[in-house]
């Protein structure tokens, strides 16, 4: 029914899709597997009309098509249920379901008809208890997922793309989701299903396509009978060689961070570990495994129970300002949204976290500030080496170096790195790794989170493996390989 051939999508600095093939037949559940960054999300955005492919062809029911906008994709009968729900929180359930194709005459909404139709779809989905008039913002995440699904159904979709639909659902709700999927496929609807949970794929999937580094590495494997080891092998073994700096030889120093029984309901439970001076500790796990949330809790940006002790002092949670004063620094995941002042110069971005150190009674000593910035730009080899240049004109890797430089100032004891190489092209990564190792060698403790398993393993001294909010393994990074970790993450058992 759907045939994609040689799809290529290029973003600045990254070739997200590099020749992807996909065949989906009517009435099947086609699973898409791949590690984070393999190109799954980009591929479904191409199908949903959000991105236009640079190369390649898409055929639907024998005819060549081109979805140049989400509206085109919907008209073709493609519906997408995104991982991050795309609902308007202030509108009602019925209004959300029929958003863009309202029951209306000359712009006048027929709310009665919309509510009745919404109730019908929700009943079909097995959720008659969700009231069509309820405000979506007040619903539980699982109910929102159902509304999102109802919207896809309301379009009479021929192809439904589901991006990790079970992530927000409890166990019995997953069973209900599968029942709906089976009903849909019985009617000839095709489903493209993305999930990291192998057991789900075994249960609901018909065939599997595996992506790696933006390429298709296996097409149409039988979902039930392909051995796990084969699937994991296909997903791993990156074509890109990572160059990691050598680990420190001496034993790590004093403890700088101790986390005790940290728990945040719904995100992670009973997490305990410590980081020593000069040590890099990595958290490995999938999106939603709680790794970023743990980091936020350590930083004080997320409420959690348990204790966070920095350099012998228990931190008050929910107070980022104090946490920074005590010597913790964070390079957050969303660099542009959470770390950078895009309009400002490299200098201003570097000194943002330690301004009082450059000022007497609020007056900034600009000469000293510039000199420090220049020193760091040279030390970290930030290019172009001009501290006065607006930071938005730098490449992702160099922007990230500037964020790291920010925390080199002001005597940090602990640095939290959340996806430090996201959006950084492959060539620049090795440099960043060297910079991070260099930080540790100066006696800073580093806590690292990355969805790239080889990165966590290659860079860290010790690794914590997370699955659905619990630590399932903790140990020396040298004793694990990518295959072990993926196996633990996907099957939920310690090696």
């Amino acid at each position: 029914m759907l045939v994609m051939r040689g799809i290529v999508k290029q973003f600045p600095g990254v070739r997200a899709l590099d020749g992807v093939d996909l065949d989906v037949e009517a009435g099947e559940v086609h699973c898409l597997l791949g590690q984070n960054g393999a190109g799954k999300s980009t591929l479904i955005k191409v199908l949903a009309g959000v991105h236009q492919p640079d190369e390649g062809t898409i055929e639907f029911n024998g005819a060549q098509i081109r979805a140049s906008s989400p509206i085109d994709a919907i008209r073709l009968g493609f519906a997408t249920i995104y991982q991050e729900l795309d609902l308007v929180e202030g509108l009602s359930v019925a209004e959300n379901i029929f958003l863009g194709h309202e029951h209306a005459r000359a712009g006048w909404m027929n709310r009665g008809a919309a509510n009745r139709a919404a109730a019908e779809v929700l009943t079909r989905l097995g959720h008659p208890e969700i009231r069509p008039k309820a405000e979506v913002g007040r619903l539980s995440p699982a109910a929102k997922q159902v509304v999102s699904m109802a919207r896809a159904l309301s379009h009479d979709a021929r192809l439904i793309i589901m991006d990790e639909p079970s992530a927000a659902l409890a166990h019995d709700e997953v069973a209900n989701l599968f029942r709906i999927i089976r009903e849909l496929t019985a009617q000839g609807v095709a489903v493209v299903y993305i999930s990291h949970r192998l057991e789900e794929i075994r249960e609901i999937g018909d065939r599997v396509t595996v992506l790696k580094d933006g390429r298709t590495v296996a097409v149409g494997l039988p979902a039930r009978d392909t051995p796990t080891s084969e699937i994991v092998s296909l997903m791993t073994g990156r074509t890109v060689e990572y160059v990691f700096p050598p680990r420190a030889t001496g034993s790590p120093g004093d403890e700088v961070l101790r986390v005790e029984h940290l728990t945040s309901p719904g995100a992670f439970a009973d997490v305990s570990f410590e980081v020593r001076a000069g040590e890099i500790v990595g958290l490995a796990g999938l999106v939603g495994s709680g790794r970023s949330e743990i980091m936020e809790a350590v930083y004080g940006a997320r409420r959690a129970t348990g204790r966070v002790v920095l350099d012998g002092e228990t931190l008050r949670r929910g107070d980022v300002v104090k946490t920074v004063r005590k010597g913790m620094g964070l390079a957050p995941e969303e660099r542009k949204a959470q770390a950078l002042l895009l309009d400002q110069s490299v200098t201003a971005n570097i000194t943002l976290g330690s301004l009082p150190g450059f000022a007497t009674f609020g007056w900034i000593d600009r000469a000293r500030e510039r000199a420090e910035a220049r020193r760091l730009v040279e030390m970290l080899d930030i290019r172009p080496p001009d501290p006065e240049r607006p930071i938005k004109t730098l490449s992702g890797g160099n922007q990230q170096k500037a964020v790291l430089a920010r925390w080199l100032l002001g005597g940090r004891k602990l640095l939290l790195l959340d996806e430090p190489t996201r959006g950084v092209d492959v060539g620049a990564r090795a440099e960043l790794y060297a910079v991070i190792r260099g930080l540790a060698e100066q006696g800073i403790g580093v806590l690292l989170v990355s969805s790239e398993v080889p990165e966590v393993l290659g860079l860290s001294d010790r690794v914590l493996v997370l699955r659905e909010g619990t630590v399932i393994h903790q140990g020396d990074a040298r004793e694990l390989d990518e295959h072990d970790v993926l196996d633990m993450i996907m099957n939920g058992r310690a090696a």
């Binding site: 300002v321 004063r325 943002l352 976290g353 006065e388």
Partner: protein
């Protein structure tokens, strides 16, 4: 980006020389040329130029405060009303009995206090700036009317030292213009040379980044509104000097002129980008238009239409600039 080097520090110091202000300077020169061509005899006189600057001074001081607030990602609609309240409070018979210095201090304290209330409501009460300052606009105006009984309060002859600010001239220019200039220079210094200014850009440009960098964004936000209120207090002194009165009707719609000047000057309403110099140039453009319309005996309604057009044109031009500069 193919531009080989960033703006050099020297150029940045000059400020006026920066490309982003060039358009404003050109617009100002064009307006001056229009003035020279249409009414040479009246336009190019010292008294006319002095009157333009005097007119600009009051809103100018408010504009400096508004620039801070807007770069910091907020908005202050209450400026005109707070200035009126400060002028009324400073000219009550009770305050006047303490002499001119106390009156001036009173005006500044009332302005800063009202700004602080705005800041507390926004930063700690989590009210949307638009709503908090809209409430302050209405309430401050009401309080001013109540205090003055809706009467214009004259400054007594004993306290004419305040009026001297507008009548005493240095090199032919009234003292209040110097005060305006001083506020602009101080504003520029604070914004460009202090941690407070740097943090203002950070809080407005990316509050999340600022927070994660350890900046207390609530306290900073509160201080920004207090600063705006402080400027309103100074502006109250200037308007008292110019009109010899305190009145609840002072500063009507000043908030719109101040915000318009800031926007024309290239400051983003979303925060994080903008300059004091731009705002002042924007204000001078506005004041010059008023002056030209008056000199040429044109309708004030047409003057409003012209101002509206200028705001739109300025923003459209800036958006094009932004696109060109994006990486």
């Amino acid at each position: 980006m193919s531009k080989p080097a960033a703006i050099s520090p020297r150029n940045r110091l000059a400020g006026l020389g920066e490309a982003r202000h060039l358009g404003l300077v050109v617009a100002l020169v064009l307006l001056a040329v229009v003035g020279l061509v249409t009414k040479f005899d009246n336009f190019a006189t010292t008294s006319n130029i002095v009157s333009i600057l005097t007119l600009a001074a009051t809103i100018g001081v408010i504009t400096v405060g508004a620039t801070f607030v807007i770069i910091g990602g907020g908005i202050d609609l209450s400026v005109g009303a707070v200035m009126a309240l400060a002028s009324v409070w400073a000219t009550t018979l009770a305050t006047q009995s303490y002499g001119p210095w106390v009156m001036m201090i009173c005006a500044v304290l009332v302005g800063t206090g009202a700004g602080l209330v705005n800041g507390l409501l926004i930063a700690y009460g989590r009210l949307v700036p638009f709503i908090a300052t809209l409430a302050m606009l209405v309430a401050a105006r009401g309080l001013a009317q109540r205090m003055s009984d809706r009467k214009t309060q004259l400054i007594q002859t004993d306290n004419s030292a305040i009026v001297d600010l507008s009548t005493t001239r240095l090199l032919g220019i009234p003292l209040l213009v110097y005060i305006f200039a001083l506020v602009v220079v101080l504003g520029w210094v604070v914004l460009n040379r202090t941690t407070f200014g740097r943090r203002t850009y950070a809080v407005g440009g990316n509050p999340e980044a600022a927070r994660l960098a350890g900046i207390n964004i609530r306290r900073h936000t509160m201080l920004l509104y207090a600063l705006s209120g402080f400027c309103c207090g100074i502006a109250a002194i200037l308007i008292m000097a110019r009109t010899t009165t305190g009145s609840s009707t002072h500063g009507d719609l000043y908030e719109l002129d101040a915000i318009a000047a800031v926007i024309i000057g290239g400051t983003l309403l979303t925060g994080g980008r903008g300059t004091i110099i731009g705002s002042i140039l924007g204000l001078l453009i506005f004041t010059l238009i008023t002056n030209l319309f008056i000199l040429n005996g044109l309708n004030t309604s047409d003057q409003l239409i012209a101002k509206g057009l200028i705001i739109v044109v300025a923003v459209l031009l800036q958006r094009r600039n932004l696109k060109e500069r994006a990486p």
